[in-house]
């Protein structure tokens, strides 16, 4: 149900460490903000486009992942053209699409595990001050992945219960039992986690 957006491969971009890629994205987002000359933006855009298209994604998948952002950028570009002129609109669209392509390229070439390692490193300063436990983040993420299919099954049950009673499926009669049934499990799950000593408290 929840398939990661990672794509297997061994391209040079796959081999770059994730931290370097994230720093590149952050730097690019700051630097590109101050660049408005299409003579610089266009080559950068083409470079990111080539990078994104050579990661081993099928054309269909590659387009599907960013298509909706492309649409949003198109609407924004038209509005900017109307209010601020053509040059501004071109610079804006190139800038945003370049960043989106780079970000999509990073997502396609880094595993969830690699991301979690980086997040744990980023949370270390907070953990040292006793504000949170970095391991909790991984635990919470695992719980979400574990329970989404469970909620989907519950949703189907509630819909079938409606059908069996000849009731129309309304948002309210659907969400209320779904949320209560799901949250009611919290106590049992919390006890199970504590009984296994996962949080070492």
């Amino acid at each position: 149900m929840l398939k990661t957006l990672y794509v297997e491969g061994a391209t040079p971009f796959h081999r770059v460490p994730l931290r370097a890629k994230l720093i590149l994205l952050m730097t690019a987002s700051i630097v590109l903000f101050f660049v408005s000359s299409p003579a610089i933006l266009a080559p950068v855009f083409l470079a990111c486009l080539c990078l994104y298209l050579t990661l081993g994604l099928s054309w269909r998948d590659a387009l599907g992942r960013i298509g909706w952002i492309g649409f949003a950028v198109l609407v924004l570009a038209l509005a900017t053209w109307f209010f601020n002129g053509l040059n501004e609109a071109i610079a804006l669209s190139l800038r945003i699409i370049t960043l989106v392509l780079l970000a999509a390229a990073i997502t396609a070439t880094a595993t969830i595990g690699a991301f979690m390692d980086e997040i744990t490193v980023m949370l270390m300063p907070l953990e040292r001050r006793g504000l949170l436990n970095a391991a909790d983040v991984g635990l919470a993420l695992g719980l979400v992945l574990r329970f989404v299919p469970e909620i989907a099954a519950r949703y189907d049950n509630i819909r079938e219960a409606h059908r069996a009673r000849g009731l129309p499926v309304r948002p309210l009669t659907l969400f209320v039992p779904l949320i209560i049934l799901t949250l009611k499990d919290a106590d049992t799950i919390a006890m199970a986690i504590d009984a296994r000593g996962f949080r070492r408290q």
Partner: protein
């Protein structure tokens, strides 16, 4: 934070993810189908309260960042956070916090149903609509150079749908407060 709070946050994040998977729901009296996921801000704030609700959304955004397609329509990945709509996504976290903050102060279990619903409705509108659009439009205006007033004018088109969502969230939050109250015991 107790283990129970951690689990509640994770379970609600799972509900938010699931709301993005189900097809848009059509209401009997409005022809336009509504996507359920944006209702999550109001629901999370009104049901879990400020801190836990906001953390549930932080968890969802974390999942987006690590490359899971958890947003409606199977969207996900860093591209979402780099795109022009990133302000709305930041608005979800702050909006949930504000919704929960207001709901915690306006609603308690000893009030009558009408007062509780009024409290939830105000919280949903201020946090779930006001804050989300404020942050989203500020970011949009900042990166595009389009005036803030024009960005707000464009988002007016979505307000009627959002008011309906606030209404549904209000009724759901009140039913859950009666059935399984979580809001009074703040994290």
């Amino acid at each position: 934070m107790t283990t129970r709070d951690l689990v509640l946050i994770a379970l609600f994040a799972a509900i938010i993810v699931f709301l993005g998977i189900i097809p848009p729901i059509t209401l009997g009296f409005v022809p336009v189908p509504i996507t359920a996921q944006s209702m999550g801000v109001m629901l999370a704030g009104c049901i879990l309260g400020a801190k836990r609700g906001a953390l549930a959304y932080v968890l969802v955004i974390l999942m987006v960042a690590v490359g899971l397609p958890v947003l409606s329509g199977g969207r996900g990945g860093l591209a979402v956070l780099a795109g022009p709509t990133a302000g709305y996504i930041a608005g979800w976290v702050v909006g949930t916090y504000v919704t929960g903050f207001i709901a915690e102060r306006l609603v308690n279990e000893n009030q009558g149903g009408a007062r509780q619903m009024a409290g939830f409705f105000i919280a949903s509108i201020v946090g779930g609509i006001g804050v989300v659009y404020l942050l989203g439009n500020l970011w949009l205006a900042f990166i595009t150079g389009i005036g803030l007033d024009k960005a707000f004018l464009a988002s007016l088109a979505f307000i009627p749908g959002d008011l309906i969502k606030a209404g549904i969230a209000t009724l759901a939050a009140r039913a859950i407060l009666v059935g399984y109250p979580l809001l009074p015991q703040r994290a």
